[in-house]
Amino acid sequence: MTIKVNIKQLGKKKNKIAGVPFPLEHEPRTVRELIRECVHTCVRQYNERAAKSDNPDPLSAEQIADMSEIGKIAFGINYGEKLPDEEKAVTDAYQAYEDGLFRVFIGEDEAGELDSTVSISEGSEVTFIRLVMLAGRMW
């Protein structure tokens, strides 16, 4: 199935990534499964890009324009030989969710605890909001 993913940072009007179609292998029934599926897709896409590092897909004019906004135009390929460990990436993502480093909204409703049930169907809009640590210490 394919969902639509937004990535947003609080305090910024524009979505960092807006409405990207995102394929999932299985239909998630809980937040935990949704995170696992999303990480799985990210890791798979990353590995596919790494496998084609000698012959990457050409960038479209739109991609170049988008990337020029953040100041770096690249193929998104890590030229190192180390591939990501998917299990560790999933564990870290669960931990980050529990720590509140990012929040997930399905449509306009916030997803709850990791084991809360979610209702996701073809074309559902899922928004990931990244939060930043407050670093000011009391001294």
């Binding site: 931990q95 509140g100 939060l131 640590m133 407050l134 670093a135 000011g136 210490r137 009391m138």
Partner: protein, 375 residues
């Protein structure tokens, strides 16, 4: 603190300036009335990290008195040989807090500042130097009028309130005063601190409150601080403040909070890594060194502080981190044991153990460190 208009604040701050002047003059007058040997004792204050001083006649006498027996308490010595200190130079209403503090310096770390290390000692010279520094803290920083709870709740005269407004932080000796009051069982203070941490009153949270809690022996407040650490979530600064303060109190408070860190795997947060770096002596400008700190370091610290057999095993290993933490854990309770162990390694240890021990010498203050190195 109640909301004040800018004009009101400015008016009170002016009163505070005058109060500061008046207080300074009063303390100076009190100082002039002190006997010469007490003046000499006060003049001996030092920076704990860099050096210790044997000082004048009264300081030497205190060191000799403390050396006679571990049962000899600094408070008895000061009460007998320098009672004039409470002529106003140290607020007489805070005498019992001061005496309680100097009798407990051995269970708190003796170094201060960002280069401090988590070392404690009953060494008479170190205790004497700590006593002198507590005198200085109570003289210079004690702007708390007689009752600490009234101070927190702003039940103050206008000039005292103006003086409080001058600074955004609590006075330096607040933690010692509050720790003593907590141990004396001051329920009002315990309730004020509990409500403050739970966000149920208007008193601003301050790092010195954490220090007061870890210096006290109140398990309930230690647990409250542990819960605050768990609740910090995205507040990395709050986590940093708690973790970088938790080594400044009693070993029991430290071990309890270390357990909380261990249980929740808080070492994944960089603020906690930085705090561990501070305790262990890795906190230098090269923050890259902090990458060496992991959950393994927390497990080693916990093992070494609670299991002497494990500590001995680590000290006999060839693993630098194990040796360093093993040595550090000796100094955590008594820095003389750390020095003794380094001496032993210098005589009988392997080359690698000796090299690690020479790094660990850096935990000690410069003069003691040099002495060990020379030997």
């Amino acid at each position: 603190m109640k909301q004040l208009s800018a004009e009101e604040k400015a008016r009170l701050k002016k009163l505070g300036e005058k109060y500061l002047e008046k207080r300074g003059k009063f303390r100076q007058d009190c100082y002039k009335k002190l006997p010469d040997d007490v003046k000499e004792l006060i003049g001996d204050h030092c920076n704990y990290y860099y050096e210790f001083r044997v000082g004048g006649a009264l300081c030497k006498k205190m060191i000799a008195y403390l050396s006679e027996s571990e049962k000899n308490m600094p408070s008895e010595f000061i009460g007998k040989h320098a009672p004039e200190l409470f002529n106003g130079y140290i607020n007489p209403k805070h005498k019992k807090h001061f005496l309680y503090t100097i009798d407990h310096v051995h269970e708190r770390i003796y170094a201060t500042g960002w280069q401090r290390r988590s070392l404690r000692s009953r060494d008479p010279m170190i205790v004497a130097n700590c006593v002198i520094n507590v005198i200085r803290d109570f003289k210079e920083w004690d702007s708390v009028p007689d009752d600490i709870c009234d101070y927190l709740e702003d039940n103050l005269t206008e000039e005292e309130l103006g003086y409080k407004l001058r600074d955004t932080s609590l006075p330096y000796c607040f933690d010692d005063l509050a720790a003593a009051e907590i141990d004396f069982g001051n329920e009002r203070l315990i309730s004020l601190l509990t409500d403050c941490i739970n966000g149920e009153n208007d008193i601003p949270l301050d790092r010195l409150m954490f220090r007061a809690i870890v210096k006290s022996h109140d398990r309930g407040l230690h647990e409250l601080l542990g819960r605050l650490l768990c609740a910090a979530r995205l507040q990395e600064g709050l986590r940093q403040s708690i973790c970088e303060t938790m080594d400044e109190g009693t070993p029991e408070a430290f071990l309890y909070l270390l357990g909380v860190i261990n249980e929740n795997n808080f070492i994944r947060f960089s603020s906690v890594k930085r705090a561990v770096g501070t305790w262990l002596g890795f906190a230098e400008e090269e923050t890259v060194k902090l990458e060496r700190i992991s959950d393994k370091s927390i497990a080693l610290i916990s093992d070494c502080l609670t299991d002497p057999a494990k500590r001995e095993e680590y000290l006999n290993s060839e693993d630098s981190m194990k040796i360093h933490i093993g040595l550090w854990s000796l100094g955590f309770y008594e820095s003389r044991d750390l020095v003794e162990k380094i001496r032993e390694i210098s005589k009988h240890g392997s080359r690698h153990q000796l090299l690690t021990a020479s790094y660990t010498v850096g935990l000690l203050n410069v003069l003691s460190g040099k002495r060990v190195l020379i030997q």
